[in-house]
């Protein structure tokens, strides 16, 4: 292992392979072709609209759905005979037991006690101490504030449960993910096997994991943890693996020459040198876990997602505001704590900051205080159970009236925007896509993808499109597709305007970037709340949420891409006397097309994930079918079919977008799509 490092190529013949030129564009532009297809489509649509739309009548179910339903029944029935099902069932049971035990320690009354084993004072003290230990005193204060807010506002149990779900999942992510990250970082073969799996996992909308996981692990916390684990795994493997593989070869070679074993190399060289990157991966995984743990409230996962979800289902914005706010606070706490932990790791390695004896003393004294607090909270009831306060209700009322005031001011504008987009874009597109006969819509989609991405786009369109057709949810798919396309177009418009602006003005960048960072930290689910307040129940709320969710990433990608255009090129163009508009359209955007393609691709996937979740707030279509599958066991087949359809739709959109991007000359390579989280992304200063 430690010997043959044949990767060192001799220092000869380093002529770089000529970079492939983008295909020469001849004939009419792609967009002319697309427009031609659409015009033809509209003309035919005028004649045949309303026929063969494959819309399912109320309770009508196809054979595929019935078959999926039977499959589910079979799985449930085979609990005692099928080893796999028995195993997953046992794992689910184990998770439920473990979680129950932890709840009794921290959040639920531990019979016969009227309160948990450790009362709130003890838990707050423990958490604050942990914040000091992994990060610093400022983080400790943030942790204390967050925990106290849970209690004071009346969401103690849900807040702690959410952290327990997130924490258990992240622990499992580390146990499972670190060995895989090491494999990805040290073995080319392992990377070749694991990377495509991660790609697929990250292309899939979060929502889709839920149904199969529930089937195998049972409803409730077991499924919540498994889903969260699966969703949070890829960032750590990817980023950690990248960090390990990026360790300087000269350090590895030099230490190999001392005769270290491969285990020593890993433990003493690769892991320490990759530590900062690994912790960034852990940060990303933690945020993903939090986001998914909230969505898992759809399958009765415990935590703060639950009150938000039930309020949203009742269309009661007021009741969702306080728990929504607490989720945001939790996200900020986890993000800052893991970031500070990575910085502390750096400082500690340098021997700076609070260290050695001083640190030991602070933590030791703190530990004693924690023990005292735990003891007190076990002894005195007021220190164990939060006193009833009206603070939570008061805050909810205040927020509710504030929201009403804001909606009162903005409502008119919101309504105007909604109507403009609904009547100008959404309705016409929806009638074209969904009211065309399936054969017309399908052929038109194939032609459009051919015009955009050539054969590489046609093949996935045909394959995945056929799959969608066979699953029997064509009409719903067209509705979802309409929303996805409209939202993506709007995201790209916003991303282009703001991204270019940020790239051209330092001040705008300084102003917007922190907001965008914060926007990427907040779990997706929370966006539904303000959007619902502003636009009301309906598909437009889902579109707006999707835009808010997808825009930060897209804006930053565009801004970074445009900023990366070399200053010398800009100077050269200015010296010829271009206007700002010409500079943007002739130089900056064409040279940043790789980033634009990446932004569109990312935007598309983010939008799809959110539109599906938005099925709940009136977006209907596929997302709603999935929710129906969760909530009624006799509709499981429908939900599963909708879930698979969403996956196929996502794959189709992703492949077409990538093929189109490649043709433009802007490659969307998988690594830049996923490895670079916001803190590693190349930002030029």
């Amino acid at each position: 292992m430690s010997t043959a490092t044949d990767t060192t190529t001799p220092a000869v013949d380093t002529t770089p392979a000529a970079s492939p030129e983008p295909e020469a564009r001849s004939g009419p532009s792609r967009w002319v072709l697309v427009v031609a297809v659409v015009v033809g489509w509209v003309l035919l649509w005028l004649v045949v609209r309303g026929q063969d739309t494959l819309q399912l009548a109320g309770r009508e179910r196809t054979d595929v759905m019935r078959w999926l339903g039977e499959f589910r029944d079979g799985v449930i029935a085979s609990r005692d005979t099928n080893a796999l099902v028995a195993f997953t069932g046992a794992v689910g049971e184990g998770i439920r037991t473990l979680f129950g035990e932890l709840q009794q320690v921290f959040s639920l009354p531990a019979f016969p006690r009227p309160v948990p084993q450790i009362g709130w004072l003890g838990v707050v003290a423990l958490a604050t101490w942990a914040g000091t230990a992994v990060a610093n005193l400022r983080i400790a204060v943030l942790v204390a504030v967050t925990f106290v807010s849970y209690g004071v506002l009346g969401y103690w149990e849900q807040g702690i449960d959410l952290l327990l779900v997130t924490g258990l999942s992240v622990a499992a992510v580390v146990v499972i993910g670190m060995p895989l990250a090491v494999a990805v970082g040290t073995s080319r073969r392992a990377r070749a096997v694991i990377t495509p799996v991660l790609d697929a996992m990250q292309t899939m909308p979060t929502f889709v994991y839920l149904l199969p996981v529930v089937l195998f692990f049972g409803i409730g916390v077991s499924s919540a943890i498994v889903c969260t684990l699966v969703y949070a795994l890829p960032p750590l493997i990817r980023i950690g693996g990248y960090g390990i593989s990026a360790v300087s070869t000269s350090a590895i070679e030099a230490t190999d020459s001392t005769g270290q074993t491969s285990w020593q190399r890993l433990r003493k060289v690769q892991l320490p040198l990759a530590r900062t990157t690994i912790v960034v991966g852990l940060n990303q995984s933690t945020m993903a876990a939090l986001s998914m743990a909230i969505i898992a409230s759809y399958v009765d996962g415990p935590g703060l997602g639950e009150p938000v979800l039930s309020a949203l289902i009742r269309n009661d914005v007021g009741a969702s505001l306080v728990p929504g706010l607490l989720i945001v606070l939790t996200a900020i706490m986890l993000d800052r704590a893991t970031t500070a932990a990575s910085e502390r790791a750096e400082l500690a390695a340098r021997g700076r900051g609070l260290r050695g004896r001083a640190r030991t003393v602070v933590l030791g004294v703190g530990g004693v205080v924690v023990l005292v607090c735990v003891y007190l909270s076990r002894t005195y009831l007021p220190l164990a159970a939060w006193p009833e306060t009206s603070l939570g209700r008061d805050l909810a009322d205040t927020l509710d009236s504030a929201t009403d005031a804001v909606v009162g001011v903005l409502g008119g504008a919101g309504e105007a925007l909604r109507n403009a987009i609904s009547y100008g874009l959404l309705n016409p597109m929806q009638s074209l896509l969904a009211e065309s006969p399936w054969w017309l819509a399908a052929s038109a989609l194939v032609l459009v993808s051919a015009a955009l991405g050539g054969l590489r786009a046609v093949v996935p369109t045909v394959v995945f499109g056929t799959g969608i057709l066979l699953l029997g949810l064509w009409h719903s798919t067209m509705l979802t597709l309409t929303m996805v396309l409209v939202a993506t177009v709007l995201v790209m418009v916003i991303a282009l305007v703001l991204g270019v602006w940020m790239a051209r003005s330092r001040r705008v960048d300084l102003l917007l970037r922190p907001l965008l960072d914060a926007g990427q930290t907040i779990p997706a689910f929370c966006y539904l709340i303000p959007v619902l307040a502003l636009f009301g129940f309906g598909r437009f709320a889902a579109i707006a949420a999707a835009i808010v969710y997808a825009a930060p990433a897209a804006i930053k990608l565009v801004a970074d891409g445009v900023r990366a255009v070399p200053e010398t090129t800009l100077e050269a163009s200015r010296s010829t006397g271009t206007t700002s508009w010409q500079e943007i359209t002739q130089v900056q955007l064409p040279m940043a097309r790789g980033s634009l393609a990446l932004a569109a691709n990312q935007g598309l996937l983010y939008v799809l994930a959110m539109i599906v979740i938005g099925g709940l707030v009136g977006a209907q279509a596929l997302g709603y079918d999935v929710v129906l599958g969760f909530s009624r066991s006799e509709e499981w087949g429908l939900g599963a079919a909708a879930g698979i359809t969403i996956v196929l739709l996502g794959l189709m959109l992703d492949r077409v977008a990538r093929a189109a991007a490649d043709r433009t000359g802007g490659r969307v390579d998988a690594r830049s799509r996923f490895t670079l989280p916001r803190r590693l992304s190349p930002t030029r200063t």
Partner: protein, 368 residues
């Protein structure tokens, strides 16, 4: 072109802490199915032709040489000549495609993994061009790394590393981190790390190329001093001829992975094996390298017997003053026997005119 005429250990202290090195028929070919090329007619192709035909690149081509215990053996060549690949093959940091390497009593090329680790831990250490220090460890722990890998206790290895830190002149910087040090000092850490394990052989891969000229000169003197003090066998890779001439007991010149010449510094300068070497050495101040052996003429019966007596291995520059001061020509005597005569003219030709033999002057392009 194998050089078995290894000179005896030159260090005056007589300490021989070194092991010998024996390299036979060593090949390294990068690329798919590289091992099938050796022994076929393809192996005789030039590097470019082989690349075009098979996609493989020759790094080291049929190299054989010996290094005596305690000797400083310099491998030199331009970038791409395969010298860095060669030195990595010696401890199998790069796995050779073919051939044998023997260090002391161990045949490196047939070692098992664990034997190889033992060899790297105890016998051979290496110093790298880009230092290869661990940024998260203090200087003292970087130096002690090889000992740590062996499983030595922290106290013991730090004590031992402390001695070596003093030896390379880094006292006072034990608790610094590598990025707080200048390039020259970082390389001292690299040197100390290599010395800490008390190996019998040191390998240097262009250790001073990344340093500025003054620091480089200091470090070269440091290596000469250390060699005198510890007497290790050294294999030193460089692309700098002046460095090679200054440090090397013998020099091996590589081109495109092949050995062009092996010899002492004065042999390389005085009798270049081909135009490539001649071209290479044409800028060298010859009086600093050549010995009287290269300028003397056979004695004639009528030569004066009163001139100063010197040995044939005296460097011309060192002989010049005494020779010119005397009215009589220098008498070159080895082992009591008169082997040649050096006139003032011969000395002046080298010192003043720096006149190269005609063959060495052809195509005096600027190579370096």
């Amino acid at each position: 072109m194998t050089a078995t005429d290894a000179r005896p250990t030159p260090d005056a202290t007589g300490r021989t802490g070194g092991a010998g090195l024996e390299v036979r028929d060593l090949w390294k070919i990068f690329g798919p199915k590289a091992d099938r090329i050796i022994g076929t007619p393809d192996a005789e192709l030039s590097r470019a032709d082989l690349k075009a035909k098979t996609g493989c690149v020759v790094g080291v081509k049929d190299v054989s040489f010996d290094v005596a215990p305690g000797e400083v053996f310099v491998v030199m060549g331009l970038s791409g000549s395969g010298k860095s690949t060669l030195v990595r093959c010696l401890t199998r940091l790069i796995e050779p495609t073919h051939g044998t390497v023997r260090i002391g009593d161990d045949e490196v090329t047939s070692c098992s993994e664990s034997q190889l680790r033992e060899l790297r831990r105890h016998q051979v250490s290496m110093v790298f061009q880009h230092f290869g220090l661990l940024p998260h460890k203090q200087v003292i722990d970087n130096v002690a790394y090889g000992l740590e890998v062996r499983g030595m206790s922290k106290k013991e290895r730090r004590a031992k590393a402390g001695e070596v830190v003093d030896l390379v002149g880094l006292s006072g910087y034990e608790t610094s981190y590598p990025d707080q040090l200048s390039g020259g000092m970082q390389q001292r850490v690299g040197l100390a790390r290599a010395l800490a394990g008390d190996p019998s052989m040191l390998l240097f891969d262009e250790p001073f190329s990344a340093l500025d000229p003054l620091i480089r000169r200091d470090m070269q003197n440091e290596v000469i001093r250390l060699h005198r003090e510890v007497g290790k066998t050294m294999v030193f890779i460089t692309h700098d001829l002046a460095e090679a001439l200054k440090l090397g007991d013998r020099i091996m010149i590589l081109r495109d992975g092949e050995v062009v010449q092996v010899g002492t510094p004065d042999e390389v300068v005085g009798a270049p094996a081909d135009d490539y070497v001649a071209d290479f050495t044409s800028d060298v101040p010859r009086s600093h390298v050549l010995t009287l052996k290269w300028v003397m003429r056979p004695p004639r019966p009528d030569d004066s017997s009163e001139g100063p007596v010197m040995s044939s291995s005296t460097i011309v520059r060192e002989a010049a003053q005494a020779a010119l001061a005397s009215d009589h020509p220098v008498r070159v005597v080895d082992d009591g026997e008169l082997v040649g005569i050096v006139d003032d003219d011969a000395i002046l030709r080298v010192v003043v005119a720096e006149q190269a033999p005609p063959s060495a002057r052809q195509g005096s392009g600027e190579r370096r």
